[in-house]
Symmetry: C2
Amino acid sequence: MFDVKDAKAGVTFPKGFKAAGVKAGIKKSGNLDVAVIYTEKEAAVAGTFTQNAVAAAPVFASKAVVATGTAHAITANAGCANACTGEQGNQDAHAMQTITAEALGCEPDDVIVASTGVIGVTLPMDKMENGIRQAVSELSEDGSWNAGHAIITTDTYSKAGSTEFTLGGKPVRLGFIAKGSGMIQPNMATMLCFITTDAAIDQKLLQKALSEVVDVTFNMISVDGDMSTNDMVIVLANGEAGNPKVTSEDADYETFKAKLLELCTGIAQRIASDGEGATKFLTVHVSGTKTYEDAKTIAFSVAKSPLVKTAFFGEDPNWGRVICAVGYAGVPMDPEKTVVKFGDIPVYANGVGADCDAEALRKVMEQHDIVIDIDMGESKDKENDATVWTCDFSYEYVKINGEYHT
Amino acid sequence: MFDVKDAKAGVTFPKGFKAAGVKAGIKKSGNLDVAVIYTEKEAAVAGTFTQNAVAAAPVFASKAVVATGTAHAITANAGCANACTGEQGNQDAHAMQTITAEALGCEPDDVIVASTGVIGVTLPMDKMENGIRQAVSELSEDGSWNAGHAIITTDTYSKAGSTEFTLGGKPVRLGFIAKGSGMIQPNMATMLCFITTDAAIDQKLLQKALSEVVDVTFNMISVDGDMSTNDMVIVLANGEAGNPKVTSEDADYETFKAKLLELCTGIAQRIASDGEGATKFLTVHVSGTKTYEDAKTIAFSVAKSPLVKTAFFGEDPNWGRVICAVGYAGVPMDPEKTVVKFGDIPVYANGVGADCDAEALRKVMEQHDIVIDIDMGESKDKENDATVWTCDFSYEYVKINGEYHT
């Protein structure tokens, strides 16, 4: 994982951002469920969204905000996804924007909206309205903890963090809150991530950096292979740091993008590691392929295999299931050239199981974090390497998802 | 499911076939584990095999037999897959052929060989040799039951059956034994199916009929999305029925193919229904698409979704997860036109949840066999419909696969 400056700071660590999270009564549990993040100074906004053809109402509303290039606020709720809710859903998403804008004194199209939770149920708008107004009244520089907890569902903890670096001689900050857990998979699955920064950066460059970073971070995790209707990653950049504005792909842009990559890699790993019912965090690293696409295809084939995931749950060094998943990935391969390692221990080479120290291998399997390293032996080009993060498949996963009644 | 003439008859129901199954000590449990099926009269042979790039040694050996066009015998074992066993594995697969041929008085390339079980372990050839010799000595017209039980692994029962019909005025018979359970998925997963028939049919037509039938039966089931290294479907046709030999795609060919389709549909359904830990048998039927490929893609997306499968395990009518899996299948769609039914009850239409009788829906969810019917509303052409058979995801699946140590 990665270092965070101060986990409690989260989205309010960058200058000029306030946040709040309140109990609006949307979650059955009565826990925090409505969050607002706000910057008085207008921010450049960038976003990436679920590619599910059945996208939720807030996804459409927020895409329209990103298209304007600027925003002041994010309003999000957990407990109800506002997905598959038809025209009423669109009206409710827009009402979330209008209510927030009115309370903050900005325009509706300055407000990103996001929802997560049960599909097919309309939002209780009376509760939502009260919740938004209360959250706006409670906005503060200490509000990130509450906001972070208001967006989680079956997550075992709220993901939050921040980092600080220098751009053009000025200290610049990045902060985030995120939620993951079930339905996580490539191309943005029920995953919400809100990133704030006080960097001054051109909106188009912000979007470019975000899109490229998301491709190798959030789009490279898989909990159960399901892609949600609601997911989004949003970045707000309000320029309060006072750095010379990044307007071209210069050294400052590269620094900003590298920090964003570091941050998003950490968030993606935390989301995979906290997948529903997870007891293991698995890093599937594939090298030695002729193309990056081949490596990615093989890595996902292994990371999504229920037989591989249950084997790691059982701490069983069952390399047969791994090489089997490599074999059906659809990428031409030579089993004789392929080498599979668990941790740094080779378990398969030359087409057969490798002789290895059973005791050392047992110790690897007992770890919480395990690397499955697969070298296809077709190329030495490290540029093609792909890494996918996932978790194991446990009784608890079945329990959570078999008992999570609609 | 489908009617079988006499489940005990299995592969020995067609004229001229004998079978046996013995305890050779390859399964740890000590149960039946080596099977031989034999026809003294030379049979036309057809086969389809796993498309996994990491195929097991017996797959290569048996493909070579099918290439000769004729065979006399099938020798199969459970308890050890002879996969990822390198050159030793190839030698052992050939030794299975040689030992069988010597005992029967035929040639090694007359003998199909198949193995299922743990990957990465070489066959105990002393036990195998004794087992094959004993099985050959016990070959009989009552031997199908033992042969069927000798090839199963985590199956809860041995799949076997037979059917009888008329070709050119002569009674003709088909019989089978099959095993399925874990690692089942499209394109032949750890699944073995041996079909015998006394029909007289040209080898090329037999292969054509089998390949076409397998595409819409065995390649349309999914238990966990994993494709095995070892799977195969073999048909032996010895012509003992005395029907005028089928040598063109005439009415007799169509009759034969229709009966083979009926048989293989039933077998595929039984294999899906008996998936590891299964408590529900799910039929995913997709209609109203512009192409068959679209329908197949959507059906597999739903059938392979762990969130859908755990919901049915929990008897939760969670149509949100179904429409979500439809949405990420990658097929362009209009959510407003899509209709989802569980049984005959519409649960999703016009982009939102449908009003339905909750009590009637609860009764559907309590059934063992449930149809998930998805009409995409893009076409009325029934030719494009696709059906995939699968099962739910239970605690037991995780238990079986987390505790099945190598």
